[in-house]
Amino acid sequence: MDEHSANIVDLTHIEKTFGAVRALAGVDLMVSRGECVGLVGHNGAGKSTLMNILAGTLAADAGEISIGGKPQKHYSVAQAHKLGVRCVFQELSLCPNLTVAENARVLHPSIAGWGWRKQAGRLIREKLDAIFPDHGISTDSMVGDLPIGKRQMIEVARAFTVTKESVRLVILDEPTSSLDSHRAGQLLAHVRRAITDGGACVLISHLLGEILEYTDRIVVMRDGKVVAADRAAAFSRDRLVTTMGATAAGRTGRADAGTVARGSTPVRVRAQPVRQSDGFELVAHQGEIVGLAGLAGHGQTDLLLTIFKAAARRTAGVKISDPVALIAGDRQSDGIFPLWSIAENIGIRSIKNLRRGRLISPDLETRFAESWRDKIKILTPDLRNNILSLSGGNQQKALFARALGSEARIVLMDDPMRGVDIGTKLEVYELIRSEARAGRTFLWYTTEMEELQNCDHVYVFRNGRIVADLRRDELSEEKVIQSSFEEAIHS
């Protein structure tokens, strides 16, 4: 291998089609040594497909791949790994039934013999310590028992671990989507450190701030093509959004303040976290969007699940007045039915109303899904296609359709915008706001400040308890961060 070649990756005219969908229509991508390339575009623009080809998990229909200046004839996952190409995908790829250490070993066949678990554990722990100080992850824990944020941290750290083959290029596909801003900052700082040592990185993110701040060069994709590629400094947020072709360019997604005075509508949800000892509780009124903020994994999801359970069975500390639906953020383990069509996945929550007599009517089911495809713009040629034929963001839209199409008057959202592009986000914010105006109540756990801006009221969580209760006019990023890190004093 030519160690002095400036370009680590050269992709020329890559094409890929899935059935009738043309995912990539001749894409060129170049990554040079010591560079972090940001890759942005809408859901379904082809970013993930391109990265799968670069990682060797998908074969290109046409085009050339050259790594380190060497053209690759039979490119595969094993070959990619040998050449030092590592990736962290949107769909987390750790084995849930193995421990953290065992998962680290999977990537490193050279760790063998007595004490391999210890070696692997040390390897991954050192990386975790380096990237995410105070991560609090034990290498003996079963991955399936960890919350999604921790799993993502492990996945990222594992991609940077080195035994025999050196790491030359790390592909990060939405690496921060399940991390809070604190952890995301640590990761991106680590990426900058890693590339100064001669590595390179491709970063896919829908958080344009991250892309603008941490990358050297930005490549914008749209409809399976590269539509712009330039130095990061040459882009602004507005220029990025316009180049991507967002429907609502330049909007921040902030709602008009003070639409409903709190307390003027009936209470829909009253819930107290299990560990709350001071009588503080979460209250949501009809037509309100209530945010659950704080660092990832500080009890927000737990409270949402408690409320969800209370819909089926009386639960101490929780009072709800109406049916509840939940939109999962971890769509692989909590949302999608992988053997079903898009229409079946959308209809399942409302199946009672899609019957003629006692039997489910496929006709009603299709029409129901069609109306939601148009309303929420799910990109697919046919709703009878398998749900996995959709890109990640469009799968998430199907989950939104499932919940919003149901009779539920209370909608719980468990950080549902992971891996959703900015255009879609703005559309969904609008949809949520109009549903709230129509009387629905939303409980929205999110780690992104921008999403909290859409809320009428925000509760900040820390260590499983509510530590701050902010009205919309009190809400600021500083306040949220401050409450997330130290014990808040509330009167």
Partner: protein
């Protein structure tokens, strides 16, 4: 026409019917056409019992990894004894006897589910241990006596309409009903959803435990009915009358195109697979093969089907 053929070939159940046809042809080529019709008629009559147990096992297996009803043979044995004892050889008590078999089966389903739900025992262990308990109950209840069915009931299980066993016609209608139950009712959709991802099913508002409970009850009930019918067909109850239906029910589910890992089921294929297995044994019998070889061949067929089905998934 071509696309119709391709769609037909993409159905997972087609292969079981093709297999049944092939085995039948091989058998009649060997006998030079002698007994071709009789073979099908006898095949249908015998396939009825494995299809009924196959439906039961299919619903349970579709609930997802780890779900299987190993108590079916013991259930069938006990139900056959209960049915015959209640009927007591009298035609007027047939309905009561069938009802008693059904109750016995449902009771076993309830027991299975309680073990799984209350004690959180994996279904494979729960139903296996349940079957030991059922067997002991059967032994003390029947005292090993073989009780004869009422003449009317025995007649009913063997009567034919134009060469087609009445029982087979009834079971076809029954399986059509179960196909509707699986694909077009909330219960069926719930089973398929739970088999793919129980957590996602729960979060999508599906009554997971109720569905699971009903499925084990259904399996128990079908086992009970099957036991009563078998006792009529074979002219007497016995505790080991259901022994071959553990392997048969699982084999039918697999060969019929139902996913062993859950979430995807196929009722149509059960009949193809049932006929295939029965005709396979008939063919081996006409070839004059020993019982040992018959078991080996059946085993190899099941392994072959699982390998072929698994290969399709990996593609």
């Amino acid at each position: 026409m071509n696309s119709l053929l391709r769609r037909l070939l993409s159905q997972p159940w087609v292969w079981s019917y093709l297999g049944a046809l092939l085995v039948w042809l091989a058998a009649i080529v060997f006998t030079h056409g002698y007994g071709a019709g009789g073979m099908i008629s006898a095949g249908l009559a015998l396939a009825v019992f494995s299809v009924i147990t196959g439906v039961a096992q299919m619903f349970v297996i579709t609930l997802g990894p780890g779900n299987v009803d190993l108590s079916l043979p013991a259930n069938i044995g006990l139900a056959s004894a209960v049915a015959m004892k209640v009927m007591g050889g009298s035609d007027s008590l047939i309905a009561l006897g069938l009802g008693a078999a059904l109750v016995s089966g449902i009771g076993i389903g309830v027991g299975n589910y309680l073990l799984i739900w209350l004690l959180r025992i994996p279904p494979i262990i729960a139903t296996l241990s349940a079957s030991f308990i059922i067997q002991s109950i059967g032994i003390s209840y029947g005292r090993g006596l073989q009780i004869k069915p009422p003449p009317g009931f025995a007649e009913f299980t063997t009567v034919q309409l134009a060469g087609v066993p009445l029982l087979a016609i009834g079971t076809v209608v029954l399986t059509l009903g179960f196909a509707v139950l699986l694909h077009r009712t909330i219960y069926g959709r719930s089973v398929l959803a739970i088999g793919q991802n129980p957590r996602a099913a729960w979060l999508a508002g599906i009554a997971v435990e109720r569905t699971r409970c009903f499925t084990y009850l259904l399996s128990g009930a079908l086992g009970g009915i099957c036991g009563a019918l078998l006792a009529g067909y074979f002219r007497g109850s016995s505790l080991d009358i259901g022994d071959e239906y553990l392997l048969a029910s699982i084999a039918l589910v697999v060969i019929g195109g139902t996913s062993v890992s859950g979430g995807k089921a196929n009722v149509t294929g059960l009949w193809g697979a049932g006929l295939f297995l029965v005709l396979l044994l008939t063919m081996l019998n006409t070839f004059g093969v020993s019982a040992g070889i018959r078991y080996v061949v059946t085993g190899l067929v099941i392994i072959g089907v699982i390998v072929a089905a698994g290969g399709e998934k990996a593609r």
